[in-house]
Symmetry: C2
Subunit: 337 residues, 2 copies
Amino acid sequence: MAEDAPRRQPTLDEVTELAGVSRSVASRALNNAPHVSRAKREAVERAVRQLGYVPNPTARALATRQTGAAALVVSGEDPSIFADPFFAQVIVGASAALEEADLHLMLCLAASDRGRKRVEELLRSKGADGVMLMALRENDPLARMAEEAVMPVVFGGRPVGSAPRWYVDVDNVGGAREATEFLVSRGRTRVAAICGRLDTEAGRARYRGYRDAMLAARLDPFPPQEGDFTEPSGAAAMAALLVNHPDLDGVFAANDNMGAGALRTLREAGRLVPADVAVVGFDDLAVAQIADPPLTTVHQPIAALGREMARMLVALISGQDPTPLILPTRLVIRFSA
Amino acid sequence: MAEDAPRRQPTLDEVTELAGVSRSVASRALNNAPHVSRAKREAVERAVRQLGYVPNPTARALATRQTGAAALVVSGEDPSIFADPFFAQVIVGASAALEEADLHLMLCLAASDRGRKRVEELLRSKGADGVMLMALRENDPLARMAEEAVMPVVFGGRPVGSAPRWYVDVDNVGGAREATEFLVSRGRTRVAAICGRLDTEAGRARYRGYRDAMLAARLDPFPPQEGDFTEPSGAAAMAALLVNHPDLDGVFAANDNMGAGALRTLREAGRLVPADVAVVGFDDLAVAQIADPPLTTVHQPIAALGREMARMLVALISGQDPTPLILPTRLVIRFSA
DNA sequence: GAGAGCACTGGGAGCGCTCCCATTGGGAGC
DNA sequence: GCTCCCAATGGGAGCGCTCCCAGTGCTCTC
């Protein structure tokens, strides 16, 4: 009769009262802190169970000055960039590592102006304990925002130009070099490159690796044929390549989507893969296996990328000073080369 | 000299002091609330700029009892389920809709026991303003947790068996029916079904749609050949089908991944698609276009699914009572049927 | 000219938790 | 028997914000 109100959540004070202890003791008991007698600890546990008490994370956050969350920010002017399964894998890895540290994952797609504004607020307002930043492009406004962040920031992949203090990256140059060397080792001499957006560091680095390998083999590198990491752009780039260099016998595509696109164009043009033209991709996503023929590609440890970013962030949050990390790649040989 | 301390974030009180107004006025000015004179409003704005003040979201959350975040929970015993590009699209849609309501997105992959435990805490603790739940399986513990949630919950796809109060789903039955009818209309009479996990509602509903269409056409539905929505499982299912029903001339696959797998098996078995066997998939993800031949499939509006879930949640949070939603599908005819 | 009404203002009580600190009451050590 | 130490305890001051409420000086009406 007295207690038929809209049933608010029980608070610590109610637990306190039911258990007959002070708030300090109840708090300590909840956090498994020392200096609580066995009897009181049990009394608190009983009260908690009876009331169905769950601590209010917001209040805790305010008192401890820790939000218990880390943000993953994915840049890009178009939200569809995020549809790339690449990010899903990063998330799987990051999520697992964050879970170990008992942090929640906030996901921010900084595509629209509004989205970027919200990210800026987040970075400046202690809305999370730390941030992971991915897919920055050249002159990305997020880079500047990151500098005035009031919390630790870890980069996934280096932004174009500068190397931030903390980042995790994949060995793009090495992977691209290995892919190209492989093509060369198979006797290909006219190897073209379908590269990703050159306003991304991954796009540049992979072209650089290709170029290095070509020069080292005393072959002429092709000028970059730019795509935007999507399947159609790969198909288009391949078509352009076929027009300008009809005699090419190998293609290094800067990711699997574009590699799959190239395969499609090649098929439609009646070129046999790998007999006439050998193709190597980059990423080793599901599409590489589904492609026809299955794509030889550079495997990059994407989930590990996410996991290591998260671990680095956790280290930073707990006051340590981790060192940047570059993850190795590995060539996966299938049938396209 | 006095102010060389580790530079905490400025607080509202400091703004207050600099602007020479009371905290109430400053708060009102910040929130664009009425009853603030132009002069004071400007004074506050100036002080905010000068101090680089950004409101602390946690404190605000505690005072307003609103966290400013919504969670998207993806169930599944294996985190890799999330690697399906399906979810990425849902997220794109949900994120956009949430952004409009100025809510942040928390992502919870409830794969491990630990993950589920954290979700349970989240649901019971007011750690978010609302939750979207996806990919529940039969007897999923999350269903029970959702019931004792202290915040609104909307389901993405109905859980097996029961229909929750609020959900957004895709017309799985209708889509599968249309796909099957299409196959029949093309003269196929021995149409098999590679269905998804039958402990998911989508898996069941799509098989039901197939079955309905077959019966309506006075054809014998095949017993369900179960896969798990992955490419390899589709390939395996197709192989089994070929052994048991070598004379089949059509296949309805409950998603594109499995459809692509079926295509691969068919190709390896020397069956021509669509000449010998016509194949229709479901989802219309990127893989459908990349497959060889490009897959005729049932398009489902995935981003819209995410968007509508988020909108429904926002409506719920703001005290409205929206009605469940079922999104239409659409057959996309390519070359596999 | 008195009262009503209204825009503006600031004081202060929370929101639900953590954590510093002072206090208490036994043992252990001599 | 008397310190000294330390586990156990509870009081209470925040954490940074929102929002209710009472108060102030106007203009407007009859």
